[in-house]
Amino acid sequence: MSEPTITQDTVARIAPMFRLQWEEAQDCHVLLYPEGMVKLSASAGEILKRIDGKTSLGALIAALKVQFPGVPLDQDVTHFVETAYGQGWLRSVPNE
């Protein structure tokens, strides 16, 4: 798959290969996939749980800014989303 260009308008969903859930025993969000599990950092969990196939990256960053005021997170979030695409965790939802 070709690496899509991430913009503020990008709308992503979790790729069908993966399932995101909160794991009480691990005290973190995890991505589950065939015979494997990725443990996510707190910030990665906060980002991925907002990826719902409807919210644009710009809106997602705005929502995070409301929750974590004063934290300069634009670049970090965009960078993480790019990484997540690289790992195959995300798919873009075509724009209407």
Partner: protein, 383 residues
């Protein structure tokens, strides 16, 4: 009371639950990972007992669940167990030959919340596939793999690689591309149980291996981003052992069809063990307190060269079953390791087994995994 400088390590959790629902199987693969003694274990846990196993392990933190066997599809309650697994929050994997599957069942599993299906093929060539499986299953497997993708499951195809199919590796990979697998496991036979019995007929030569590895790597590059290809070399050709089960009693919990709890599915062959059973003991006490699960935790059990080895935290001395099979002592270093005093004799044995031609190998009959052969093997006096 905690001593100064002493931090008790938190007890590990059984993250991976392998539920071997049954040893019954319509196939007879001569490298089956089930024990040779399958005929002795007719007893299977009931639906209610399996549900209790799923609930207990989930409470302890298990997240990955494999429904395996034998052939798990022979259990008519599989749909019920899948639904319970989904309700509990497991990621559930169905590990199947595809025999006994039909579209209605694939749809019912989806409805029940199954996450992933892994189908095994024995070869890409119909005749060889059917010969190795001891059953005319190829066309059906092919059709079922299409159905699995039709229902949008992530699909893993697993092909056990050995001397008699390794030269067809390119055809095998092309088959998996045609079937649109998401993930392909080209898993070399490891030598336990049935495959140990048939090792001389299965162990590839070093030349075969080098060629197969080159082709696998070629396709890994070519398919990047579309399909992941995992290629596993036979342990016997390695110089360092695998971190078997990620360490004994570390993350893996196998429940055998009769309810025996095992730190790995091959552990049953180890002497001097009484494996606990979920019918009489809770999973929590099995995992935390049983002798069987504690025996090879940590490194107190190790001998030299493992005990003072700087790599012991990485590979945990390798595989306990392999150590037992090749040295007669499960506390030895896995002889795959070139630091093991038994490594040289393993290398000699590998050279001896692979010195014969493929034609000669094919002329030797394989011992197929079935109840008749299991009974005959059990009847033999042990050395």
């Amino acid at each position: 009371m905690a001593k100064v400088g002493y931090a008790p390590s938190p007890m590990s959790k059984p993250l991976w639950l392998l539920a071997e629902l049954t040893y019954r199987c319509p196939l007879q693969c001569p490298y089956c990972s089930n024990p040779l003694e399958i005929a002795q274990y007719k007893d299977e846990l009931t639906t209610e007992q399996w549900i209790s196993v799923l609930q207990q392990a989930r409470r302890m933190g298990a997240a990955q669940l494999g429904f395996s066997g034998g052939e798990p599809l022979v259990r008519p309650d599989l749909e019920i167990l899948i639904a319970e697994a989904r309700r509990l929050g497991y990621y559930s994997n169905l590990i199947t030959s595809g025999v006994g599957m039909d579209e209605a069942r694939v749809a019912a599993f989806k409805e029940a919340g199954l996450d992933h299906i892994q189908i095994s093929f024995q070869a890409s060539d119909e005749d060889l596939n059917n010969y190795l499986g001891g059953s005319a299953s190829f066309e059906h497997k092919y059709a079922m793999a299409r159905v699995v993708k039709k229902y949008e499951y992530p699909m893993v195809l697993n092909i056990v690689i050995h001397r008699q199919n390794i030269d067809q590796i390119e055809d095998i990979i092309k088959m998996t591309i045609d079937l649109k697998a998401d993930y392909v496991e080209l898993a070399s036979t490891q030598y336990y149980g049935w495959s140990k019995l048939n090792a001389a007929g299965l162990l590839p030569t070093r030349e075969q291996l080098a060629r197969a590895e080159r082709i696998a790597h070629e396709y890994q590059d070519r398919m990047k981003g579309q399909m992941k290809i995992l290629y596993v070399v036979p342990d016997y050709y390695e110089n360092r052992p695998k971190a078997c089960m990620n360490g004994w009693g570390s993350v893996f919990l196998t429940i055998a069809p009769d309810g025996s709890a095992l730190p790995c599915h091959a552990a049953r062959q180890l002497p001097g063990f009484t494996f606990p059973n979920v019918k009489t003991q809770s999973i929590e006490s099995i995992w935390n307190d049983s002798d069987a699960f504690n025996r090879f935790r940590g490194d107190d059990w190790m001998q030299e060269p493992c005990r003072s080895c700087p790599e012991k935290g990485k590979d945990f001395g390798g595989c306990r079953c392999q150590a037992f099979m090749l040295t007669g002592d499960a506390t030895q270093a896995d002889p795959v390791c070139d630091k093991s005093p038994h490594h040289a004799s393993l290398v000699t044995e590998v050279a001896r087994m692979t010195a014969v031609s493929l034609a000669e190998v094919r002329a030797q009959p394989l011992v197929f995994r079935n109840l008749k052969n299991s009974r005959a093997l059990s009847a033999k006096p042990t050395a």
